[in-house]
Symmetry: C2
Subunit: 340 residues, 2 copies
């Protein structure tokens, strides 16, 4: 089992942006020291939900303060980027981190972000596909290339630097659809599964992924599916739930709010990223409790095929010292049970 850290620097009312960055960076440095496998930084714009608008610059700073931990974007929202610039920036970060970069890609889901950038959520897929094609060409092309697309055009562009990892940093795609999972398997991309979902939903995604891999006669590597998950580990399960549950609910609420279009917006397909199946409770969607309870929750995930979990501890409403304590306790008491 691999364990990573998920960061989406929130900016709650009354907090200072500077302090929020400092806390998140300190936690990332701590995670590196504690031996976490990876660290994933979201990209979001325009709201208190996350002030990670340039996650590459943020990860560049963190690259300088860390040694071994892999650094991921979760995700780079392709429709919001000039894909040539994104190729340049990620390749630079790959240099600065000595090849520790993972590039998560997605089309984004927040209506307020699309609207802010003057884009339509409905053209997200098309922009995603065009952006991805250019991103790959930019990383790999050994001669200048030209491109005339619907949204972007380039003439004899020769993006530099080129990535350290060849042909490019590992790609991780945020997807749960059958074609999306099939594409990941086909292209040797990792899969990023969002948090806030039930084990039932996760199992369904894992099984769908297995089917694609089997169909394609590719060796199954479940470590290529990374599941994001709210986590809080404390000395007692009551303390853990009392500390974490309310901030977690608030985070889901805020995410749902910034994701939804205003009621006046017509004809926009909207996806709530945190839709819980059926009647299961919110506490079933997190790893929260004393080390024993956390271990049990992880064993359940392992039983349905999860081998890589990205832990979301630093919610907006959480105190920095609680996040750090939780990471230390988890690293000391829980991780060793899964890494013999």
């Amino acid at each position: 089992m691999k364990f990573g850290l998920f960061q989406t620097v929130q900016w709650p009312e009354g907090s200072q942006q500077e302090q929020q960055y400092r806390n998140a960076i300190d936690q990332c440095v701590l995670a590196d020291e504690l031996g976490f496998h990876s660290l994933w930084m979201t990209e979001h714009h325009f709201t208190r939900h996350a002030i990670t608008s340039d996650n590459i610059a943020l990860l560049s700073f963190i690259a300088s303060r860390t040694k071994n931990i892999r650094l991921g974007t979760a995700v780079s929202v392709l429709p919001f980027h000039d894909p040539v610039r994104l190729a340049e920036s990620t390749a630079l970060l790959d240099h600065l981190s000595n090849g520790r970069l993972d590039v998560g890609i997605g089309r984004g889901y927040q209506w307020s972000e699309y609207d802010g950038f003057g884009l339509h959520l409905n053209e997200g897929n098309e922009r995603f596909e065009e952006g991805l094609e250019i991103l790959l060409a930019s990383w790999k092309s050994e001669i200048p290339f030209s491109y005339a697309g619907k949204y972007h055009s380039y003439n004899s562009a020769f993006p530099q630097p080129k990535p350290v990892q060849k042909p490019h940093p590992p790609i991780w795609h945020a997807t749960t659809s059958e074609p999306g999972l099939r594409r990941c398997a086909q292209n040797d991309w990792g899969v990023l599964l969002a948090q806030g979902t039930t084990n039932t939903a996760i199992e369904k995604s894992i099984n769908l992924y297995r089917t694609q891999v089997n169909d394609l006669s590719i060796p199954l590597e479940l470590g290529k599916v990374a599941l994001a998950r709210g986590m809080y580990c404390a000395s007692s399960s009551k303390l853990a739930l009392d500390t974490f549950l309310r901030p977690y609910e608030q985070t889901l609420e805020l995410a749902a709010r910034v994701s939804a279009p205003p009621t006046s917006a017509i004809g926009v397909k909207h996806r709530n990223p945190f839709h819980l199946d059926g009647e299961e409770g919110i506490e079933k969607t997190i790893i929260c409790g004393d080390p024993e309870q956390c271990t049990i929750a992880i064993e359940k995930l392992a039983a349905i095929g999860i081998e890589y979990i990205i832990l979301f501890v630093n919610l907006g409403g959480m105190k920095h010292e609680h996040v750090s304590q939780s990471l230390r306790l988890f690293a000391r008491e829980v991780i060793p049970r899964f890494t013999k």
Copy 2:
């Protein structure tokens, strides 16, 4: 007199990109330790002239390794940026550096870059003006703003984070025209003067700036005009010239080459950034020699009103250890003569 460092990580044939970054970063850290006032990183794309395509990510990494030195973009080429994203990225860097950021702005001059991005050099001014307007609104706006321009549109965008320095990081404009200099004086922006020009040309720019300041009845602060200048300081003037002159010529040649349109390009106004007046020799456009000669060259600049020099030492053809030695010698033997 303030002294800064100019960096434009070149990538000469046969060199490794990774090593070029490492050398440049080490030199920046050294400049911080030696007490240099600032460090300015170019933005360039697509050629060996400079692999600083994301100078903000690079400066974010350097911010983490330095304490006091100010960090500047020289410049951020506005026509190549989504200005809302640029506002977000620079504001983040302002946080990461604890308010040490200076933002140089320009319209860019390299034909190959414009063409690579599928843009026309002739629309550079218009894109620059629109980009600047949005950049300022993004930094300063305390409520979401909308904008419908020729090149960019936003709806209720609320870029975050906001800069640490209020209302925004100092702006430095790369310009020598009368309206450009007047605008700098009017708006309290600094002026960036390019390298490769003669003292005669510099004096003309300084006098033009003085006239604007006088006209506007603004107090004259010559420290707001920063001159970029090739510099190499060695134990003897002969050694200095033998080491530096050829790499310097090569840098100017390469810059001129990537700036020029192919002969087939019609109707494009082209500006060679390194146009030398009249018959003066190339060695008159640099600060190069033993500490005594360097001092004399700087005194000449001081006599025409220069109070801030940004030193370009790390040319592509220069060895890393020579650059470091030169910085140390200059800091020990020359700087103290100008900072009593």
